[in-house]
């Protein structure tokens, strides 16, 4: 793992006995005690994930509205609608409407926006955005190296927040952010996550990462790794870029229309989306559940309807909470309605499955 970057919490993970794996160019913990108990800790109590690998970009303008207008020209959702402190899930598309990245954009002040992007896409996002940047008036800064990130997730998140920051501090509303000044630097708190549970994501100066990690542990959080994170997000059908999102898949095909504002007159990729909306979609990302005992469905496995291949799994695994195989796949129209019986082919054998409503739980 020579060329991999290390989180500021690397030594902490190793001391905890974490199994470290390469992920998006980083060496990150995939699990500590085990994926299943870590998943349960998050669903039932509280877990903390190191998300220091994620990217933090800042976009600002001298004049109010200029940065927002530019972001609205390259992102699918509606940045102009954000009040200070609010955020929204959105997508960065290529010219043909395919997904470069999915991200959350927050309005930090009148003129400054804070973007949290996927680790594997930081460089690509920044390069792409730079090609779209106007000659003057808007600045884009990649400050990913300055932050450690923690995701504190689970039903006990509010209690933990109060234990960590005191009762005088208020946890932001869902999809909102705030900045708290502490003896350990300024901490950005975002009421977001990737698990489907209540919780917040905390971004602090790199050097303060270990301090805030320990604060989370002291507040009752169980260390949780990327394995649990993947199982939690899959149970909630949150797409993973690189698996469920790709440059040749659009947000409409991915079922992310809620994050696309086609009322905006222009944004990169819009034409393809308008055409798809008018003419219909050839395929959709659907949730698939195994209906009989089967090996775990995994990305790359074929999905069949009779003898016809109708898709390929983009994500899959065993749901720790349902105890059965769950997956997502782009399925050809005609075979992607809820209730459709399909087979997943695993090592040459077919195992019955069904298209089900999202999310799985």
């Amino acid at each position: 793992m020579d060329d991999l970057r290390r989180s500021p919490l690397h030594d902490t993970h190793v001391q905890l006995g974490a199994r470290m794996v390469p992920f998006a160019g980083w060496e990150m913990p995939v699990q500590y005690e085990g994926i299943i108990p870590e998943n349960r800790a998050v669903r039932q109590k509280l877990g903390v994930f190191d998300i220091s690998h994620m990217g933090q970009l800042f976009v600002s303008s001298d004049k109010t509205g200029v940065a927002a207008d530019w972001l609205d020209s390259i992102l699918t959702n509606n940045v102009a609608k954000l009040d200070v402190g609010q955020g929204q899930y959105t997508l960065l598309l290529n010219e043909t409407g395919g997904v470069i990245d999915d991200l959350i954009v927050y309005r930090q002040s009148d003129t400054e926006y804070f973007l949290v992007v996927n680790a594997s896409k930081v460089d690509e996002d920044v390069s792409w955005m730079q090609t779209k940047l106007p000659a003057s008036g808007v600045s884009l800064t990649n400050r990913s190296d300055e932050f450690a990130g923690l995701a504190v997730q689970g039903p006990e998140a509010v209690t933990a927040f109060q234990a960590m920051f005191g009762k005088s501090q208020q946890l932001p509303e869902r999809f909102c952010m705030s900045t708290i000044t502490t003896d350990n630097g300024n901490v950005i708190i975002c009421r977001t996550g990737y698990t489907g549970e209540d919780g917040f994501e905390l971004f602090c100066p790199t050097a303060a990462g270990s301090h805030w990690w320990q604060q989370c542990i002291d507040a009752g959080a169980t260390p949780a790794g990327l394995g649990a994170r993947d199982s939690l997000r899959l149970e909630k059908c949150y797409p993973l870029n690189g698996n469920d999102l790709a440059p040749d898949r659009t947000p409409l095909e991915a079922g992310l229309a809620f994050a696309v504002d086609l009322h905006k007159p222009e944004f990169v990729g819009r034409e393809t989306l308008v055409r798809q909306k008018t003419k219909g979609l050839h395929r959709r990302l659907v949730a698939i559940k195994q209906t009989e005992k089967s090996p775990p469905p995994r990305p790359g496995y074929s999905v069949l309807s009779g003898d016809q291949e109708v898709g390929t799994l983009s994500s899959g695994g065993v749901s720790p909470n349902l105890g059965c195989g769950i997956s997502m796949a782009y399925i050809t129209s005609g075979h992607n309605k809820i209730g459709t019986a399909l087979d997943v082919e695993i090592r040459g054998k077919r195992f019955p499955a069904e298209v089900v409503r999202k999310p799985f739980i």
Binding site: G34, I35, P296
Partner: protein, 126 residues
């Protein structure tokens, strides 16, 4: 790491116990189950199937990955551990006893001589 004496071992982390009448019991080692992490599925061969040494004979799957298990020796499957169908975590909890995978009737008993003893296997994983 537990590496019981009296068993034979392979490079690919299977253990082999010689029983009576040229029958061997096969499982995966403590090291292998720890590396695999929590198992969620075990796919076993069918009784009566014939395998040559180093054939893919079974698959163990954790939440994250699937790993092939290889026949350590040539022979016919004479028994499989049915209990694993309902609870594959038995392999994690008891890799050398309750978590055995299958039994083979040896077609070439001399193949046992090519397998590692406990001390050699311990050297390999440490």
């Amino acid at each position: 790491m537990n590496v019981p004496e009296g068993l034979k071992y392979t490079e690919s982390h299977e253990w082999i116990r010689a029983d009576e009448d040229n029958v061997v019991t096969v499982g995966i080692t403590d090291y292998a189950q720890q590396e695999m992490t929590e198992l969620v599925y075990v796919e076993l061969p069918e009784v009566g199937q014939q395998f040559s040494a180093k054939d893919e004979i079974a698959v163990v799957e954790s939440v994250k990955s699937a790993s092939d298990i290889y026949a350590p020796v040539s022979g016919e499957v004479v028994e499989i551990n049915d209990a694993l169908a309902d609870d594959s975590a038995i392999v994690n909890n008891s890799p050398f006893d309750d978590g055995w995978l299958f039994k083979l009737k040896l077609s070439n008993p001399s193949e046992l001589e090519h397998l590692m003893k406990a001390d050699a296997y311990t050297g390999k994983i440490s």
